[in-house]
């Protein structure tokens, strides 16, 4: 399914949460919203509250201190909901795998529907990942 047909089919609302990242993935996710890449032209909107969102976009390494918050945010999202792990730290712990305060990936804490690799992934990758996920879910 092409990007355009996907765009016609749906408009995912995203909520973005940074667990404990170095902020590199964050700035690439935010850059995806800026005019050059413009995530919003696909109907994807960044919402402030998890209660309004379909897709939870998570960046950063999950640490002990942020684990409870990410679980809580996940629990507040209404079904159907999907979590996207952006960046190597979220996927597997990344460069912090094995550290005493870092979990080995987001999926050790909440179920993850899509993994976007990269350290950090470029904004194009982020858009592609979110778009592929949504097109798969909505009937691709």
């Amino acid at each position: 399914m092409g990007l355009v047909s996907w765009a016609r089919a749906s408009s995912p609302w995203l909520v973005h949460f940074n667990t404990a990242g170095c902020n590199a993935c964050d700035i690439e996710v935010v850059a995806a919203l800026t005019p050059r890449f413009d995530l919003e032209r696909f109907g994807a909107l960044l919402k402030g509250s998890p209660r309004h969102a379909d897709v939870l976009v998570v960046t950063g390494t999950v640490t002990r201190q942020t684990r409870d918050r990410i679980i809580r945010i996940w629990e507040q999202m209404p079904e159907p909901k999907f979590a996207v792990a952006v960046g190597n730290c979220c996927v597997s712990g990344g460069v912090f795998r094995g550290c005493y305060n870092s979990y080995p990936g987001l999926d050790s804490v909440i179920p993850v529907a899509a993994y976007i690799y990269g350290c950090p992934p470029k904004p194009e990758n982020v858009i592609h990942g979110v778009a592929t996920l949504v097109s798969k879910i909505r009937g691709g």
Binding site: R64, Q65, R67, Y100, N101, Y103, P104, S108, V109, P111
Partner: protein, 157 residues
């Protein structure tokens, strides 16, 4: 490399502190290391801070050296980095606070306390700064005897 300025600085420190200095050396340009005993730590630093009008403490490093923990405040003056070093025994890891003469040290001493378990006598508030709330209070991650334990995953993948 011209180290005149550093050598002059070292002579002034030697004059001020005399035999309180265990070791002093010019590491390289704009970097001086001074080792003192733990009981002379606060007094020596106070003399240097007052003499040169130092206000800036860059940070404080704590390092596990086996039987002792080195407490190393890094001061900054006119572009020069002055690193003091004092060793405290691990079994009785405590030393005077610098926060009354260098208020900027308040966060750094909390960090050394969190990660190495050094008690800073007279610190206004040694609450947890960097370590998580659910971390056991008598485990100090940066001590050599601590072996890294990864957090247990909440769910199986």
């Amino acid at each position: 490399m011209n180290l005149e300025r550093e050598e002059r600085f070292v002579s002034e420190i030697k004059e001020l502190l005399g035999d309180k200095i265990s070791e002093i050396k010019v590491q390289r340009a704009r970097s001086v290391f001074v080792t003192v005993k733990a009981e002379d730590y606060k007094d020596s630093i106070r003399k240097i801070v007052e003499k040169f009008g130092i206000t800036h403490i860059s940070t404080m490093t704590g390092a596990d050296s086996g039987q002792t923990i080195d407490v190393m405040p890094h001061l900054s003056h006119a572009g020069m980095k002055i690193t003091f070093k004092a060793a405290v025994p691990k079994t009785a890891a405590e030393i005077d606070t610098l926060t009354d003469m260098l208020p900027g040290a308040v966060m750094y001493e909390r960090e050394v306390h969190d990660l190495l378990g050094v008690n800073f006598k007279g610190h206004p508030n040694l609450a947890k700064l960097v370590i998580s709330d659910d971390w056991p209070s008598d485990v100090y991650p940066l001590r050599k005897e601590y072996k890294v334990v990864r957090p247990e995953p909440i769910r199986k993948t």
